[in-house]
């Protein structure tokens, strides 16, 4: 990815993005789906879009997934 692409990617917004509150409200459900190998992003596309774009919520997702998988 070149420099301009990185900036462009940061500035692009996804209209499916549900925001922090909605994503965090279902984080445990989403994480269990991921941990179980199910299509979490397919079930919750707005949450998937948000987790890709929001650093803190992505960090919470990573932490919870690690907590429940022990990985």
């Amino acid at each position: 990815m070149n420099d301009l692409e990185r900036l462009d990617r940061f500035l692009r917004t996804d209209p499916r993005d549900v925001g922090c509150d909605e994503a965090m409200a279902v984080l445990h459900i989403y994480v269990d789906l991921v941990a179980g190998g199910e299509d979490a992003a397919g079930r919750y596309p707005g949450v998937a879009a948000h987790l890709l774009s929001c650093g803190p919520c992505g960090e919470d997702f990573d932490g919870l997934l690690q907590a429940v998988t022990g990985g």
Binding site: D3, D14, H28, A35, A67
Partner: protein, 212 residues
């Protein structure tokens, strides 16, 4: 939800935590010990991305586990079995850690609020120093849009998060706002800046394809 709808482990947790006898105390001790273990692992996982260090990190982990435990017991009746019980419970401690790390950031902040370190913007976007001159035009336009087209609130939040690299949860704590409110400001600012960069020919309307 009935106990029959739950997986065996979740049903056992609910049964034990709801028991009026000695089993409840044992279950609470076991759950608390697990929360402490998860919290300690989580603050260590995040240690590279926070100025909080050492004993303070361990203190945050223990406080997060204590507060999560209280919240879990208070909200036990709202567990609807949409996930495993332990995943639902661990979510409380993970979110507590985020919130506490945000507040503790200001005890020894590496950058002050409203510092406005625009000279560091190329680094924020990972732009190679040898290419700073090439990107100077578009970054100058980003700054112009921020200064001239964003609202005062959007400008302050964007500058703190994107230009100065203040963690979003730390800014939320400092401004007394929820994480989601800060994120929405950044979301709107990103859209506004990109629209201006497209209008001025710095970026194409499309070009990266579908965003993941």
């Amino acid at each position: 939800m009935t106990a029959e709808d739950l997986d065996e482990e979740s049903a056992a947790w609910l049964y034990r935590l709801g028991d009026g006898e000695g089993e409840r105390q044992a279950a609470e001790r076991e759950l608390h010990a697990r929360l402490v273990r998860i919290a300690l692992a989580e603050v260590r996982r995040r240690s590279a991305s926070t100025p909080v260090t050492g004993r303070e990190l361990d203190d945050i982990a223990h406080q997060a586990a204590d507060d999560a435990m209280l919240a879990i017991l208070a909200k036990l009746g709202s567990f609807r079995g949409e996930s495993r019980f332990i995943t639902w419970a661990y979510r409380f401690v993970i979110l507590e850690i985020s919130s506490k790390l945000g507040r503790h950031y200001w005890r020894n902040p590496p950058v002050a609020l409203d510092a406005g370190q625009w000279e560091r913007l190329p680094d924020r976007f990972g732009i190679d120093p040898v290419r700073h001159a090439e990107s100077a035009g578009i970054l100058a336009e980003v700054r112009r849009v921020v200064e001239e087209e964003l609202t005062a609130h959007q400008r302050r939040v964007f500058t703190a998060i994107v230009v100065d690299g203040i963690p979003l949860d730390a800014l939320a704590a400092q401004l007394g706002l929820q994480r989601g409110a800060i994120y929405k400001v950044i979301f709107d600012a990103r859209r506004k800046i990109r629209r201006a960069l497209v209008a001025n020919g710095h970026l194409e309307e499309t070009g990266l394809g579908e965003q993941r």
